[in-house]
């Protein structure tokens, strides 16, 4: 049997983390292919339902990543994201979705090296957690 390869959905902000991903790419750094980036304009627009939908459709982990506090292009979107992550971490673990499967990080536009490193760590951690919903026979 093939080793478990987690699927991770990452909502990354246009101004910082996406730019960092771009920098990682242009710097020819590699990071695991398990990460599926979804570019959003700001982490402040990531509705909790995006995260919920990702898990219910089979994601083993979800990352929300944006600008460092104080650096948000829209002034305070990342603070709003942090509250929503706090909220989701209260809800999802009650229904068996491990809190460690949802991550929030701040990765600035110039942090290309950090981006690649964090993606590697995230995949390793999620791989250790195993599949999120292994026994679900259907989309529900």
């Amino acid at each position: 049997m093939d080793p478990f390869e987690p699927a991770i959905i990452a909502f990354v902000c246009n101004w910082c983390t996406y730019t960092a991903a771009d920098l990682a790419g242009t710097s020819r750094l590699s990071y695991p292919k398990n990460i599926r980036l979804i570019r959003v304009m700001c982490t402040g627009m990531v509705d909790p339902q995006y995260v919920i939908k990702a898990f219910l459709e089979g994601a083993d982990g979800v990352l929300i990543s944006g600008c460092h506090p104080g650096d948000c292009h829209y002034i305070n979107g990342n603070y709003k994201a942090r509250r929503r992550v706090k909220l989701l971490k209260e809800i999802l673990p009650r229904f068996g979705i491990d809190s460690r499967r949802l991550r929030l990080t701040w990765i600035g536009a110039s942090d290309g090296i950090q981006f690649a490193g964090i993606m590697g760590d995230l995949v390793a951690q999620t791989r250790e957690l195993g599949p999120a919903l292994p026994d679900l026979k259907m989309v529900i």
Binding site: Y79, L92, G96, I140
Partner: protein, 382 residues
């Protein structure tokens, strides 16, 4: 300024006393209309009614166990813009809490409405109320029978099937009202007390020309304390049962297995206020090939899809504003105990943010603000 007044009660008849009190309020406090649970003219059923003719208060019944809709939604419709007149509303404590949440969300205003609250022993589900009401000769008799049982010295109410939301409610007194009418621990042979909780309430009571309140009955505190103890115990058991049943996505799916995606719970929810909910848009009206792809991937796909997604999203969107009124369970055509589940989640999400839905108008909703430095534990990979 008058802080509390005495409501005269004759022949232990609370219902008539309350009606005549609200008639006085309408006549003397310059109230143009009052939103109050009132009997329909066509049948012995009760709905919040905006009454402008004091004579119609003969049909008002704020003591009935009927709780067909959460009145907060109706009051928001009346107060979102200036109505051109002074209004009052008689609400249950959970309706007041829900209205406070709506006010914070700019869906209604408290400035032009005097809110009266009445001590609430609990309510029956819509179907239980229909059975209960039809067992009695007259609507008044039904309400009196309910009051006799619900406010008896034995607070167990074995003979009443109050909803689980009500049995687990730990805020049965209308603390957020402008004027609160106390019923718990009251000697039914004596009168009732209406107490002002706000400046607006004091102004209204001052203008009524009613005698000042008598001393608070000594047993009031103990009756309320005994009831709260019992309800907290029920609440604890309820939470444990929900926790045991829904500890995994599989468990949650089992709990919600009877859901048919009718979204009645969302319609009935007083704090689910978006005029266009994402679930009524075409956002999740997927392309046919998408369903086929899901079916192929998993071997089969339940239709309608997105059931769990809907409920989890609702938990994320409104659990911090949930007041535990139980209307979601009441509205469910398939008898899913949604209110137990949502109260359980709300207890934890509100606890995480140190928030109590509807209790304090000045407290900001958790999702409507932020601090620059907070919740560092949710950031990073550790």
């Amino acid at each position: 300024m008058t802080q509390a007044i005495h409501i005269d009660i004759k022949n232990e008849d609370w219902l008539s006393g309350i009606r005549s009190f609200f008639t006085t309020v309408m006549e003397k406090a310059g109230i143009d209309a009052i939103l109050i649970p009132t009997r329909l003219s066509v049948k012995n059923r009760i709905m919040p009614t905006l009454v402008s003719d004091p004579a119609r208060l003969a049909e008002a019944d704020p003591l009935s166990p009927a709780f067909p809709v959460n009145g907060a939604q109706q009051l928001a419709k009346l107060t979102r813009l200036p109505a051109g007149g002074k209004m009052a509303a008689v609400l249950r404590p959970c309706e007041i809490r829900a209205f406070n949440e709506l006010v914070k969300l700019n869906q209604g205003k408290r400035d032009d409405v005097v809110i009266f609250g009445v001590d609430c022993p609990g309510a029956l589900s819509n179907s239980d109320f229909r059975t209960f009401a039809d067992q009695h000769e007259t609507p008044d008799a039904a309400t009196r029978a309910f009051c006799a049982a619900a406010f008896s010295s034995d607070p167990i109410h074995e003979n009443l099937t109050l909803t689980s939301a009500c049995r687990s409610c730990d805020h049965p007194t209308p603390d957020g009202a402008d004027i609160a009418v106390a019923l718990f621990g009251t000697d039914s042979t004596k009168g009732l007390t209406a107490r002002a909780h706000t400046e607006m309430g004091e102004t209204v009571l001052t203008g009524l020309d009613l005698p000042p309140a008598e001393a608070v009955p000594p047993q009031q505190k103990t009756v309320i304390a005994a009831m709260l103890k019992q309800r907290k115990q029920y609440r604890k058991q309820m939470f444990t049962a929900v926790e045991d049943a829904t500890g995994s996505i599989h468990g949650l799916s089992t709990y919600l297995a009877d859901c048919v995606n009718c979204y009645n719970c969302r319609v009935a929810c007083p704090v689910c206020y978006c005029t266009t909910c994402v679930f009524t848009t075409d956002t999740f009206c997927h392309e046919p090939f998408q369903y086929l792809q899901w079916a192929r991937r998993k071997g089969g796909v339940k239709m309608p899809t997105d059931t769990l997604f809907f409920h989890l999203t609702r938990m994320a969107h409104i659990s911090t504003a949930c007041v535990g009124c139980g209307q979601c369970t009441n509205a469910c055509p398939n008898d899913i105990p949604l209110s137990d589940l949502f109260s359980f989640v709300a207890h934890h999400t509100q606890g995480a943010f140190g928030y109590g839905a509807g209790l304090d108008l000045s407290q900001q909703q958790p999702m409507c603000g932020f601090e620059k430095e907070e919740y560092g534990e949710v950031v990073g990979l550790n």
